[in-house]
Structure formats: C-alpha cells, structure tokens
Amino acid sequence: MSVRRFLAVGTAQRWLTAAALLLALAMIVGLVTVVVRVAAGFFWPHPLVELVLADGTRLLGEESGRDVDPAVAGATRVRIKVGNRELSGADFVWVREVEVKERSEPRDAWLLERREYGTFYGTPRRLEGPRSAVDATAPGFAAALAKAIDEAAGRFDEERALLARADRLHAPVARLQARFNAATVAGRDTTALKAELDAARAREQEALAPLLERLAGLRAALAEGALVIATAGGEEKAIPVSGIVRAVAPNGLSTPAKLAVYLARWWEFLAGAPRESNTEGGIFPAIFGTALMVLLMTVAVVPLGVVTAVYLNEYARDNAFTAAVRLALANLAGVPSIVFGAFGLAFFVYTVGGGIDRLFFADTLPTPTFGTGGILWASLTLALLTVPVVVVATEEGLQSVPQAVRDGARALGATRWQTLRRVVLPYAAPGILTGAILAVARGAGEVAPLMLTGVVKLAPSLALDGTAPFLHLDRKFMHLGFHIYDVGFQSPNVEAAKPMVYATVLVLLVLVVLLNVTAIVLRTRLRRRLKRAVV
C-alpha cells in the first residue's frame, strides 16, 4: 500500500487524534488517582515494624516509601518514619534492605500522636498517674491510657474555652490600648483615655480573677500523669499524658478497630485545628475560611451577574454597547487572576480600605484595620473574577425560557418587570443556580489573588465568632488552596507534611468536583429544556 493511500485513508491520523484525547483523559485520571491513593492511605494505621540492622541498631517506625538502592544493583532501600524528633532529630531514615538482619512487627509497639514534636514510636513501660501507676503489661493498661488521654483532652477543651473568654474580656482593653498608643504617637492629649483605660483594666482584672484561678487548677491537673515509654534503642522517656493526642498500637488491632482509628483521624483532620505550624492536626480553619469567603463572594457576585445577564438577554438591543459589554465580560474571564489580585490590593485594600481607616479608624492608625488584606477584600476581588461565570450560566438559563411564555405574560398585560419577576426568572432559576455553583467552585480553587488580598498561613481567630459584631470582615483568613501552597512549599518540614498536603488536596478536589458535577447535571437538564424551548 502506498504512503499516499495510507495518508488518504487516514487511519494513522485518526488514531493519533484518538491518542491525544486518551492522553488528556489519562492525565486527569492519573492525577486524581495519585491524590486519592496517597491521601486516603495516609490516615490508615499502618503496621509498625521493628528492624535490627547489621550494625545492631534497632529502629521502630512505619514504612513510608521504597526506592532503588543506589549502591547495590537490584536491591531496594526503605524509608522508615522513625519519629521521636526530639531524640533523633530527623523524622525519616533510609534503610538499605541488604543491611536489615531482622524484621518484626511487635504487638506491644505503640505510636503516640503528640501536640509537639510529632509522632513518638516506642514500647510503653507504665502509665504514671498522680497517685498510682499502671504497668504496661497489666490488662487494664490500654483502657487506662485511653481514659487519661480523654481526660486531658477534656481539660484542654476547657482551657481553650477559658482562654477564649479571657480574650473576650480583654477586647475592650485592647481597643482602648490601641487608641491610647495611637494618641501617644500622634502627640494628642491622653489623660481622658488613660483614665478610661485604667478603669477598663481594673474591670478586666476583677472579672478575670476567678477565671485565672480555674485556669491554674486546670494547668496543674494537665501537668499530672505521664507515660513512660521506651524507644527501640531502649531509652526510656516520660511523656506527659496531656501532650498525647492519640495513642495507637496498630499491630494488635482488628480491622474494625483500625477503621475506627482511620475515621477518627479523618475527623480530626477535617474538624480540628492545625498543630506544629500546620504540618499536623486538622484543617478546619482553612475549610471554614474558604467557605465563608466563598459565601461572601456569592452575595456580591450573584446579583451583579444576574442583573448583567438579564440586561444582555432581556433589556438590551444588539448594538455596539452590548457588544462592548460582552467584550468586557470576555476579558473579565480571560484576564489572569493575579491581575485581579493586584487590582484588589491596590484598589480595595490600599485605596478603599485605607480611606475607611482614615475616616472611621483614625484613632488606631498607623495600625490598619481595613487598610490591610481581609476576608471582605478577598471576596470582593474574587467576585469580580467570577462575574462572567454567573453571567454565562444565567444567560443560558434565560435563553431556555420559551419566547412563547414571555409573550403570553406580556399579552396578559404584565409589564416587563412583572414578566421577568414572575415568569422568566423562576424559569431560569436553575441557570442562575448553576452559575452560582460554578462561581463557588472557581472561587474555592483560586489562590493567587487571595495571596495579595488577605489570606494568611495561620489566622489567630476565625472571621465569624462570638464577639460583636460577630462577622469580622476585616480579619484575615485561611484558605484550602493557600494551605496547600504554604504547607507544601513554605513549611519547615515539607517531607513530613506532604501526606497532609495530599489530604488537603483531596478535600479541595472533592469540594470542587462535587460542585462542578452538580453544575454539570443542572446544566444538562437545562440544555435538554433549551432544546425543547427552541423547538
């Protein structure tokens, strides 16, 4: 067969185009698979292995990766997470398979997830309580340890609540202090402020006294109790029970018990606060920050997007002006998000926020209130970014409304507004909803503009809380996407934090994919109706 004929028939060309599509699909499937595999496996209680090396070293930990041994052909090396950071200095060690003399999975090996210094691997000796001690070989040891950890956790919760109350009590003093400082710097008269400040301080002290007493008691109780545990090398260490978040002996666990640990770890991840500069613990503040920011964004973007779509589709004639509006929309959709971030910083934060500060918060300047990044500015910036998404979806919804329905309403004497409000908009509601959902999905995944307008690696408090005015629009916030960037690239211990980042990625992916799938389903239905409407 000649080359010419081969090219004319085009099997090769067709196959190449098919290969391109398959490649694209394989990439997305591969990406999702990797994320799901790493993230889903991370929280499962893996067996603890004890290795005895050729030189007599004993190691206890979890296997966390394998690689080719560069020194010996055909051999592998294993990466063991050995934890015990304060003793060994490093979380991981590479062990060459050829050096391993003995390998076992001891049933009495425990791992302790701690509030500080990461995981500890070892063999418990005894649990020392304030009055009595329980030996690790005693039958009630596991239950006693669990109970002690539970009690400590309860005390921690109470301590946190007390501290939050103390913070609330301190809030008026802090406000006055800021005004006082600013007045001092500016050289204004401070005598009245000083008296007010002293009075507020006295009131705070009075209210604080019983609180502090209770706090002292709690802390004393927290200091009690320690778990004496031996490392693989035989070194004994007493770890205060209050420093332990969870103690697991995975080698002796049944599958349901492992599942319970797995779910508990996921729950802690989703609902807990971060520890150890975000590399451990949970991501709740990031989830919360993302949700609140996206909600604020929706409040701003949906009305604007819907009005624009209604204008383009229902009110405007096809003229140069609407062409310009459409061009503006296309550009809003195509301009890089970082440009919006720069605009948000320059306009919202520095110009508008700085103006608000000069008008309403002059007494605390130069400390900015709104003149610095915050959740309000971030959500407004993202609202600008997502307008086209809402407009496009809403227009599609409006186009699915049969012209006959409009004509019918108008024929009955309804004004344009009445037609719109009573007939067209309800009919187009799925389109608007699709737009809102897609905008939320886009907003949840966008990071670059947020880096300029108010996202932080660790927010001291949520933007929504129990102190008036409850919703703090000026506060900085945490965000899932930024969390991934920050922990994956800026954290001091990237290697140890990597699985956590994968888990965060999974959460973000699930969120975005769910939103998009919902939108796609809604839109498919709408399109089916659109076909009918046109016919």
Binding site: M1, F6, A8, V9, G10, T11, A12, Q13, R14, W15, L16, T17, A18, A19, A20, L21, L22, L23, A24, M27, I28, L31, V34, T308, Y311, E314, A316, V325, L327, A328, A330, N331, G334, V335, P336, S337, I338, V339, G341, A342, F343, L345, L384, V391, T415, W417, R442, E446, V447, A448, M451, L452, G481, F489, V505, L509, V512, V513, N516, V517
Partner: protein, 714 residues
Amino acid sequence: MGNFTPSRLRRVRLVDRLVAGGITAGGSLVLLAVAFLMVFLFAQTLPLLGGGTARPQSSATAPDAPLLAFEDDFREGVIVLGADGVLHSARLDGAGRTVPLEGARPPLREAVLDAAGRLLAIRDAADEVQVWAVRVKVGWESGERRLEPTARPLLRRVGAGLGRLLAAGGDVDAPVVVAATASGAAVLRGSADAVEIRLGTPAAVAAISRDGRELWLGAARDLSVFRLDGEAFSPALVAAVPLRRPPTAGALLLGDTTMLLGDAGGEVTAWQVVAGAVAGTRMLDAAAVFTGNGPVVALAPSPRDKTFLVRRPGGAELAHLTSRRVGLELPSFPADAVQAGFSPRRDGVFALTAARVVHRWRLEVPHPEATAGTLFLPVRYEGFTEPEFVWQSTGGSGSFEPKLSLVPLVVGTFKGALYALLFSAPCALAAALYLSQFAPSRLRTVAKPAIELMAALPSVVVGFLAALLLAPVLERHVVGVLTAFVVLPLGVIAAAAAWEQAPLAWRRRLRPRGELLLVVGALAATLATVAAVAPTVERVLFAGDFSAWLLASAGVTYDQRNAVVVGFALGFAVIPIIFTLAEDAFSNVPPSLVSASLALGATRWQAARTVAIPAASPGLFAAVMTGLGRAVGETMIVLMATGNTPILSLSPFDGMRTMAASIAVELPEAAFGDTLYRVLILTALMLFAMTFVINTAAVLISTRLRKRFGRLAA
C-alpha cells in the same frame, strides 16, 4: 376588579421603568468595572513616568561666616556651623539654639562632614584638627518640639603641615580624616601617627567608605583606591587609573562602590572597582559618564539611594546612577553657594551661601531608578562589567541597588507559555478533532464533562503535584519521558500501518469503539517498550546520567524545577481551555458540509482535513490564543513548579520566573507607593494588556465565524 385602579397602574408602570433603568445601569457596571480596572492600574503606574519635582521652600538665616550646614531627619530646621565654632540650630520658625564646640578655637578655618552626616572634622585657628560626633536630637520643652544638636569630641590632632581637609569617614569608634599634602594626602586615624600617601601631586578630592576601610584619592593625573586595613594601618593600593582631566569634585555614592569624579570639562564620571584581566587583580573602570554644561564645582551623594547632586557655577541638577538619567534642575539655585547637600531622608536639598542664607527645596523624586531604560534595556549595575537584564528587586541592605529589569520576567513568562503550548496545543486540538469528527457518540458524553472537570481543577493542585511529584520523577526519568514524547506518535502510526495490513474482513467489522481499544493497546505497547528501553538508552547515549552528561557536554545545568515540568503542568491547565474552544469551533461547522464531502467519496480523514479543519481554523486559532492568554497569566503553577529564579535562559532544563509569579510573591511585601510596588503594578498592567489583546482578538474571530456559518446553517 378594584385592583386596576389608575394609581396602581401608574405605580406598576413606574416600578417597571425604575427596574429597567436599574438593570441597564447594572448591566453597564461590568463594562465600567473593566474600564475602571484598566484606568486605575494605569493611574497607579503613572508616577513612574514623571521625573519628579523640586520646589523652593522657605529659607533660613545662617550665622556670620558659615562653614557648613546639615539638616535633621524631619527637616524642621537647619544646623549651621559658623566660623565661631558654634553649631547654630536655626529652626525655620526662628526659635534657635546654639551648641559651642568646646575647645575649638575660633575662627575655624575649615570643616568637612562625612557622607552619613555623623562626623564633623574641623581645623581651628590654632591649626588643630578635631573630629566631632554630631547628632540632632528632637526634644520637648514645655510642649514644644525643639531641635537639639549635640557634639562629642572624638579626636584632636596637630594639623601643622597638612593642607586642606578633604574628607572624614569611618565610624564614631574609629574616625578617619584625610587631608591634602604637598605630595599627596595624609590619613589621620585614632592616636597613631598620620600616614602619608604619596601621589606625586597634592590630592584634590578624597572619599572614605562608611566602614572607614577604603579610601579613594583623586589627584591631578590619577584616581587611586587604597585599603586601610590591619593593626599596622598601612594603606595598600587596590587599583589606580589615569585621569584625562584633573578632578574638581568627588563623592562616594551610597553603597561605597561607585566614586563620582567631576571635572572642569563638565563631565561626571562614575568609577568602580572591577575584576582585572588577570585573575585576582582589580582595576578601576568608568561605569558611566554624565555630561553637563559648565565645570563641576561640587558633588553630593544622596543618603538613601544612588541619586547625586551636581553643582555647577550656573546652578545644580540631580542625576541618578542606575538610570543614567540627568535632569531635574534645582530652580533658582544660588550662584554663591558654598555648600549643598541632601536632607537625611532625601526628601529635600539645601544650599548654604556665603550671604548667610540657607536655601531649601522640597524634593519629590519618588522613582528615580525606574525609567523605560532600566525597565526594558540592559543596565550596567554596580559590580557588573557589562550591561545586563537583571531582576533583583530587594537586597539585604539599605544601600542595595534595585535591579528592576522586566525583561527576564517577560522572557520567563513567554518561555513557560510556549513550552506549555508546545505540549498542549497539538494534544488539545487533536483531541477536539477526534471527539467532534471521529469519536463514538457514547464517548462524547463521558469525555466532554471529564475535560470540563480538568478545567475546574484548581491550579494550586496541579502546581503542587507538578513540583513535588512530577519534577522528581522527571529528574530521574527525563530521558524516558522525552523519548516517550517522540516515540509515542511513531508507535501509534506504526500500529495504524500494521492494522492496514490486517485482513479486510477484520477491518470492516471495526466499530469506532473497537478502534479506540486498538489505540489504547498501541499506546500501552509503545509506553512499555519505552520504559524497557529508556535505561539502556540513557546508559549508552548519556553515560547513565543525563544531567551530568548535559552539564559536561553542553554546559547546561539541570534544574529539578524546569521549563519541561512547567510545560507539562501548565499544559495540563491549558488543554481543557483549548479543547473546549476548539471543540466548539468544530461543532459550529455545519454537519451538512462534512456530510457532502463524505457523500462525494472522501474518507473521514479527508473530510476532516479538507472541510472541517479549514472551516474551523479561525476558531482553532482563537482557541490557541486563548490558551496562550491563560498560560501567560497562570500564577500558582509557575510559582510552585519553576523554582522562581529570574534568570534569562531559554534552556528547557532551567527554571524561570514569570510576571505573574513575581506579582504574587513580591507585591504583598512591597510598600504601598514605592518603586517596586509601582513596577509590579505595571507588570500586572502589561499582563492585562497582553491578555486583553489576545481575548479581544479571540472574541472577534469567533463572532465572525459564528456569523459566517450562521448563514450557512440556515
């Protein structure tokens, strides 16, 4: 029907009209927002264009026979040293205060101040050289701010036999004074004997670095640099260079690497020490020459940046080293000025005249280092021997010279975008062609939403995986991956050719779905072959280590986070954009055209090649352009996967820094209103302009396309 009262109808009509107005206004808001965004960003960069202003301010009165003057940090007054040996603090509102230099015998003969304005060297009536540490404190007295000059004696030496005092420098613990002598210069430091440096002719100008360790001496015929190191304190010659004209003025710019020499010909030359031709040697090189009218009388360096003041008989002007810009003449500069200088914060200039007046100007030159030249042309920075494009916006010290060339960022941006397009454009266009022309219809219902989901994947996720998963893998298997890219298409073509040889009966039975399975098989077989062969290829061709081979044979380094990784990752983000638009373009081609072609006997490929692709080609072009726009502006992926080094290199194995990543990293740190802030906003504006052009073109193309085929379809 009481409902239809006239008043109610009127109200309904009014509401209708109000709503119509409101909706029209709301609809226009989007247009306004984009226009405002553009104008606002532009307005933020406008101050970069202006050269700045210098406005005369109220002047102060100096005491009799003034020697020199300096200003306090807040420019609330001027401190003038008179020949009477007293520091007169002249507040501008008249309330003054005087501090005598105890032990200095009037009338003082001469005085010099160091560049930082902390050390004052004088020679008194008894020919004694004294060094004083001077400061201006702001104090309060019955609710009034007062300027309080303080002076502390540091050094007293007999000055007999010394010529003119040339410079003071060093710090308060080890002040250094240089004076001219008949055959060169003498250096006074601490209690040691004065050290004489022989130059042949008396030194005319001198400058001492702020750490007191480097001494520049300009004499009639040459300029030399000495190091003043060690306990023995013997000046060692570092480098020297002959001069064309005798220097009339000299000043060491902030940072102590550039010595400015002015001469009677009106030229100011910037001298820098650079590495010599022979390793280890150093030589003096003229990095820049500034010309002007009239001989240079004096030079004064700015205490904050690389700006300096050039005094000539007819007036004075400001110039800036980095931008090589001379300009901004000081209006009505006195002809009888005896001394002039900058305020400590470089927000003003003063000039002291013999007629006992201190003239003052308010200086607003906010961005002297950013000009079209420094932003887009190569610049020879301090310490460089050639003009180069460098982006290095911040440094460790206040004397750092910001290097704000946007060229490496622009090049990095397009390098990343082009590598991305190289991978994504063929892939996405081919996939769109397949899905719209050849694919089984069941596949469409799966593949389209899947690729839409691909578009929805947050770029931070793609960037994270690219940097922490793909980059290390690619580093180890770079040969295999690059081979796969060449071999995969070949494998598919070979498989297709083989299939053509298969019995006709088999081929007839093949449905599109079966064809897809065959392609999957061909891909898998090729991949497996590449995976099996790649290690051997690497061993044979590249001695088992590609990056080492690359460095040894081509001198190219292999960065782990490089343009190939970015190409992949950005390509991943761009594929769905191009795909969706290209698919739209193909779908807009009326099916009747393709059907007609098939009916005339074309194969499906021929129909696609001769009808569908040409008809859709403007749309395909628009799709690729839109993809380019997205790749140019993508931030998180390049931020995470490029390594962010702003180097100017086209090698696929080097990293880069893009405009978007620079904005993301540096804008939050830049102070509102300063040069870096405005330059980064300018970068954002450039990104905006680029994507604006690209998007507008894409929109126009697709609108025309729709119009053309709209008629055809109807």
